[in-house]
């Protein structure tokens, strides 16, 4: 499955992910209390420059990714104008655009594997609370594997319905779709158990680690 990372490398791709996340947090925290639209407009400038520094293709893609937010923000702005609070509305909208586009920038320049490594690190405290060490990574892999499969299955169910009925697709099709997900889950669970399960993975790993020595 596609991730939102842009394959074409830029200098920002080479920065460590934790540094980018830290800078993103700082930028967002600094911007948070600002209420003057002129300052916020100025804060958009470095973000635009960052996008531009990664090349024309990258900047274009970034603008494209921002589109849904821009529509939403436009509606909010119109609402603000109607209720007679133009300056306040401008500030709110610029703040959202600046923070969202910077956050998108981090996503676009960070590989999924690196992000997942950060997540695994952040999840470490939960191991003490009973989260098996390998469960999170395994579950993430399952979601990535099964999403396109369910999407395809939903499309097939939809086509099967349309081939047999003159009426519009019914939400009733969600029952077989959910059932197929349930059956898949059962099969995955059995396959997993047959291979030693999630809980045993840890002990096996330590065994194989010590084996070569």
């Amino acid at each position: 499955m596609l991730s939102l990372t842009v394959e074409q490398r830029s200098w920002m791709h080479r920065l460590p992910v934790w540094l980018k996340l830290l800078l993103l947090c700082l930028f967002t925290l600094v911007l948070w209390p600002l209420a003057d639209w002129r300052l916020l407009l100025a804060s958009c400038l470095p973000v635009v420059l960052l996008y531009a520094s990664a090349g024309r293709y990258f900047a274009k893609l970034g603008a494209q990714r921002l589109k849904p937010v821009v529509y939403l923000v436009a509606i909010i702005f119109i609402y603000q104008v109607v209720t007679g609070r133009i300056e306040e509305g401008l500030a709110i909208c610029l703040k959202i655009i600046a923070t969202v586009s910077l956050a998108n920038l981090v996503t676009m320049t960070s590989r999924l594997d690196d992000m997942m490594a950060v997540i695994e690190t952040l999840a470490k405290p939960f191991h003490a609370l009973g989260l098996p060490p390998r469960a999170l990574g395994f579950a993430m892999g399952l979601v990535i594997r099964f999403t396109p499969l369910f999407l395809q299955r939903g499309t097939q169910l939809n086509q099967a319905w349309r081939a047999r009925s003159p009426r519009r697709t019914s939400p009733r099709l969600l029952v077989p779709l959910a059932l197929s997900a349930i059956d898949d889950a059962d099969r995955v669970a059995e396959a997993l158990k047959a291979r030693g399960g999630l809980q045993n993975t840890k002990t096996k790993e330590t065994q194989s680690d010590s084996a070569p020595q």
Partner: protein, 181 residues
């Protein structure tokens, strides 16, 4: 243990697939994304704790940069947008929905699922979503609420569909309903 992880992960995948699938038209021709319906289904089928875990997994993957939200959106930008409360509200919505289905005694599962989905998938979700909007847009709670009221009728229909799905699964695979013991 393995079964739990598999169910949690596969329902997160189902929610993702529902968001990317435009074909599911609701009755009366409301062309809305089925993604929030998926949240209700996760709660209804998996129960409170697993439903919430499933949605946490989904939220984490979207933040990691997978385009799993309706319309292929995703990434950290979601956290900075005005809809952040709805997005982060999903685990809570699934938890509330699942809790009601778990506590529901004997009786009609269609009603149980619909009622639970209305409370979890609409009440709880909108409460958190509107709070997020109010904070992000610097509005009062009521003002923010007035901006999203138009979506509620569609969500009531989705809640009914979630109840229907619960009933259907109870008939076909009663053992798979983790929410009903």
């Amino acid at each position: 243990m393995e079964r739990q992880v598999a169910f949690i992960a596969l329902f997160a995948a189902l929610v993702a697939a529902l968001g990317l699938m435009p074909q599911f038209m609701l009755p009366f021709g409301v062309p809305v994304s089925a993604q929030s319906l998926g949240v209700m289904m996760a709660g209804v089928v998996l129960g409170a704790r697993r439903g919430a875990l499933s949605m946490i997994l989904f939220v984490v993957l979207v933040l990691a940069g997978l385009p799993l939200l309706a319309g292929g959106r995703g990434g950290l930008g979601v956290l900075a947008g005005p809809t952040v409360g709805f997005f982060l509200g999903w685990p809570f919505a699934a938890y509330a929905t699942g809790l009601i289905v778990e506590k529901w005694g004997k009786g009609n599962l269609l009603i149980a699922g619909t009622f639970a989905s209305i409370v979890g998938g609409i009440f709880v979700l909108y409460l958190l979503g509107v709070l997020g909007m109010a904070v992000r847009l610097d509005k009062s709670f009521m003002e923010a609420a007035s901006m999203v009221l138009v979506f509620i009728p569609g969500d009531v229909i989705k809640a009914f569909v979630a109840g229907f799905v619960l009933q259907g699964i109870a008939k076909a695979r009663p053992s798979a309903l983790l929410s009903r013991g």
